[in-house]
Amino acid sequence: MNTILLNRGVIVYLSSEIVLWGIFAIAFVVMISILYGWDFDKYTQKQYILQKRAWLTVTILSFVSIFKFLLLPYFVYTIDTLKDIVPGAMCAAGVISANSYGLKLLLLKILILFGFTLWIILNRYDLNAKNYPLFKIKSWFFILLFVALTVELWLDIKYFLHIDINIPVSCCSALFGQLEGANPLPFGLNTNTMLLLFYILYMLSMLLLFSSEAWLILIVIPLFGVISYYSVVYFFGTYIYELPTHKCPFCMLQKDYYYIGYLIWSSLFGAVYLSLSGAILQLLTKSNSKNLYQWSMKLFTLFVAVCSLYIITYYIRSGVLL
C-alpha cells in the first residue's frame, strides 16, 4: 500500500473531499429532477415542490463551497508537509510535480472555487428577482460544477495514489529557476517591463472596476491575474525570501515566511473571482455589480500593497534592492 495514503493530512483531506462529493452528488440528482420538470409558468403542485427542492441544491452548494474554500489551503499545507517523505522536495512545488496529475488538480481547484463564487453570485441575483430569470443558466452551470467536482475527485485520488516516494522530484529552484538563460516570463517580458506592466494593469483594473466596464474587465483582469502571478513568483517572491535566486509560489506559504503566501494568494484570487463574477453577472442581467467591484478593488489594493511593502521595507532596511 502506498504509504502516502496513511499520512494524516492526506486522510483527512481525501475523506473530506469524498464526503463533500457525495453530498454534492445528491444535490446533482435533485438538480437533474428539477431541470427535468421545471416550468415556472405552471401552477402545478409539482412546480412548487421543485421550487422547494431547489432550496436543497442551494443549501448543499453553499455548504460544499464553504468547505472547499477551507480545503484548498489545507490541501496546499498537506502537500507541503509531504516534502519530508518525498525525496528531493523542499516545498509543495516539488510534491505537486511528483506526477502529472498534481498541477492539473491544483489548477482545477482554483477554477472550481471561481465556479462556486460565480454560482453563488448568480444565485443571489436569481433569488432576488421575481421570476427566476437565471434559473436555466445557473442549473446547467450547477451540473457543470458537479462534473468538475467529479473530475477533481478523480484527480485527487490519482494524484495521491501515484506519488512514488522512492523517485526523487525536483525542488522549486529547479522548477522555477532560470534554465540556461531561458526567459521564464511570458510575452517576452523582462523583470522591469513586467513590473511596469503590473502597476499599469493595476491602475487600469481599478479604473475599469470603478467605471463598471464589464467587457473590458473580462479581458483585463485575467491578464492582470497572469502578470500578478509571474510578478509574485519572479519578483516580489525574491523579496519575501530575501534571496534573488529563490523563485517559488509555494515556499511563501511556509511558517518561515509567516504564512504570508496565504494572504497574498487569497487576496489575489478573491479579487479576480469577484471582479470576473461581477462582470459576468452584469453582462447577463444588465444589473449593476458595483458592490462586487468595490470588494475586488479593496482586495486588489490589499494584494498590491502587501507585495509592494516587501520591496519598500527591504529597501529601507538594507538601502539596496536585490
Binding site: R8, V12, I26, K52, W55, L56, D84, M90
Partner: protein, 393 residues
C-alpha cells in the same frame, strides 16, 4: 452578522431548548475529545522526534565490513574535503561502555572536540555553557542525568575510574551534569574530549567512529550523497532526510491506522445525527410553520437552523479541544498514554511538549464538521421548506 434581533432569537431558542441539544453535544464532546487527544499526543511526539533529528548532522559517514560498523581512518576526511558544498566536517568518536559490576550500567561515551564548531546543534549549546579551558585541562567528563544518579550511588561523586577496552584504568573527573530537562540528549550520555574517548574505547589515534557533515544547501543533498558513496567501496552514507522519512512513515502508519478506524465511528455518528435531527426537527414543524406564516422565508429558517448547528459545533469543538489539551498536556494523558505508546522505548512519565498548530486544529474541525453538516443538511432543509400553511391547521 445578519442582525441583532436574529441573533437574539437564535440564542434564546437555543438556551430555552438546550435539553434537545444535550445528547448531541455530549456525543460530540466524547468524539472530539478522543480524536484531539490522540492527535495532540502524536503531533507532540512527532515534533519532539523531529526536533531531535533536526539537531543531528545532515550526513553521517560510516565504514562497514561484513555488515558491521568498524572504525574508519581519519584520512577519509581529506577525500571528503575535496567535495564542494560541505560546510562542516567533523570526526566523531563514540561507543557503548558497560561497567563491570554486579548490576552493569551501560553508558554512551561521546568524544567531542570542544574547540571545533559543533556540528551537532545540541552539543554546541552545551559547549557554549561550558568553560572549555578547564574542561580540557585534565581528564574531565560531562555526564547525563541518569549516569550522574548511578555514579552518586556507586561512590563516584567526584570521579569515576573507567576500565578501558584495552585493559587499563583511566580516572575521569566529573566536570558537570547535563540538566534533566534536555529531552534531546539521552540521560546515559557521557561527554568527554575526543582523545579521551579514543582511549576509553581503545581506538587507534588515527581512527574514529564516524564522520559527520553539514550541507547547507538542501537542494544538493541527493547529489552529494551519490558523490560520497563513490569515494570508497566500504563507505556508508546515512542522510538526515532518510531518518526523518523513516520516522515520518512510522508515525503516518500508526496515525493512519487510528484515523481509518475513527472513520467508522464517524459514520455511526453521522447516522445518529441524521436520525436525531429528523426526529427533533419534526417536532418543530408547527413552530417553523408559524414563523413562515409571520414572514420568515425559507432562507431565514435555513439560516436559523444552520447557525444553530454551527453554534452547537463550535461550542462542542472548543470545549472538547480545551479539555483534551488539559488532559494531554497538563494531566499527561493517563490511560491513553499506555494505549498509545505501548511500553516500547518510553518510560512511564513522558512529558508531552505542548504543540498546538493550526493544521492539527483544522484536521479535527474537518473530521468533525464535514460529517456533521452532511448528516444534518437534509433534515434541516426539510424543516426549512415547511409550508406556512402549517400554521393554519
Amino acid at each position: 452578522m445578519q442582525n441583532r434581533l436574529f441573533l437574539n432569537y437564535l440564542l434564546i431558542s437555543l438556551l430555552k431548548e438546550r435539553s434537545r441539544h444535550i445528547g448531541v453535544v455530549l456525543l460530540s464532546l466524547l468524539l472530539i475529545f478522543l480524536l484531539s487527544s490522540v492527535l495532540f499526543i502524536s503531533t507532540s511526539i512527532q515534533t519532539t522526534i523531529q526536533n531531535a533529528i533536526k539537531s543531528e548532522p545532515d550526513f553521517v559517514i560510516q565504514r562497514v565490513k561484513g555488515g558491521l560498523m568498524v572504525p574508519l581512518p581519519l584520512s577519509w576526511i581529506d577525500d571528503i574535503e575535496d567535495i564542494r558544498g560541505i560546510s562542516t566536517i567533523q570526526p566523531r568518536v563514540w561507543g557503548r561502555y558497560t561497567t563491570a559490576s554486579s548490576e552493569p550500567e551501560t553508558m554512551l561515551i561521546v568524544g567531542i572536540d570542544p574547540l571545533d564548531p559543533q556540528s551537532n546543534r545540541a552539543f554546541s549549546k552545551i559547549m557554549n555553557q561550558t568553560d572549555i579551558k578547564s574542561f580540557l585541562d585534565g581528564n574531565n567528563m560531562i555526564v547525563g542525568s541518569d549516569i550522574a544518579k548511578w555514579m552518586d550511588m556507586h561512590y563516584a561523586k567526584k570521579s569515576y575510574r573507567f576500565l578501558s577496552l584495552g585493559g587499563e584504568f583511566i580516572s575521569v573527573n566529573r566536570f558537570a551534569t547535563l540538566p534533566k530537562s534536555s529531552n534531546l540528549i539521552s540521560g546515559d550520555m557521557v561527554i568527554v574530549p575526543l582523545e579521551l574517548a579514543q582511549k576509553i574505547l581503545n581506538y587507534d589515534t588515527q581512527n574514529v567512529t564516524d564522520i559527520i557533515l553539514n550541507v547547507p544547501n538542501h537542494a544538493e543533498w541527493s547529489n552529494l550523497k551519490s558523490k560520497l558513496e563513490e569515494l570508497h567501496y566500504d563507505i556508508r552514507v546515512v542522510s538526515k532526510q532518510d531518518s526523518i522519512k523513516a520516522y515520518k512513515q512510522m508515525f503516518d502508519y500508526k496515525g493512519g491506522f487510528f484515523l481509518a478506524l475513527f472513520m467508522i465511528v464517524l459514520l455511526a455518528f453521522a447516522m445518529i445525527l441524521y436520525q436525531r435531527y429528523t426526529q427533533v426537527l419534526s417536532t418543530e414543524k408547527k413552530q417553523i410553520g408559524i414563523l413562515r406564516a409571520l414572514g420568515w422565508s425559507v432562507q431565514d429558517v435555513l439560516r436559523l437552523k444552520m447557525y444553530e448547528t454551527v453554534i452547537v459545533i463550535i461550542f462542542s469543538y472548543i470545549l472538547a479541544v480545551t479539555l483534551a489539551y488539559i488532559y494531554v498536556f497538563i494531566a499527561h494523558a493517563p490511560l491513553l498514554q499506555q494505549i498509545f505508546l505501548g511500553t516500547d522505548g518510553y518510560s512511564g512519565n513522558t512529558e508531552w511538549i505542548p504543540v498546538i498548530n493550526l493544521p492539527t486544529l483544522m484536521s479535527i474541525l474537518l473530521l468533525y464538521a464535514v460529517p456533521y453538516f452532511s448528516a444534518v443538511i437534509i433534515p434541516v432543509w426539510r424543516i426549512a421548506v415547511t409550508d406556512p400553511k402549517e400554521a393554519m391547521l
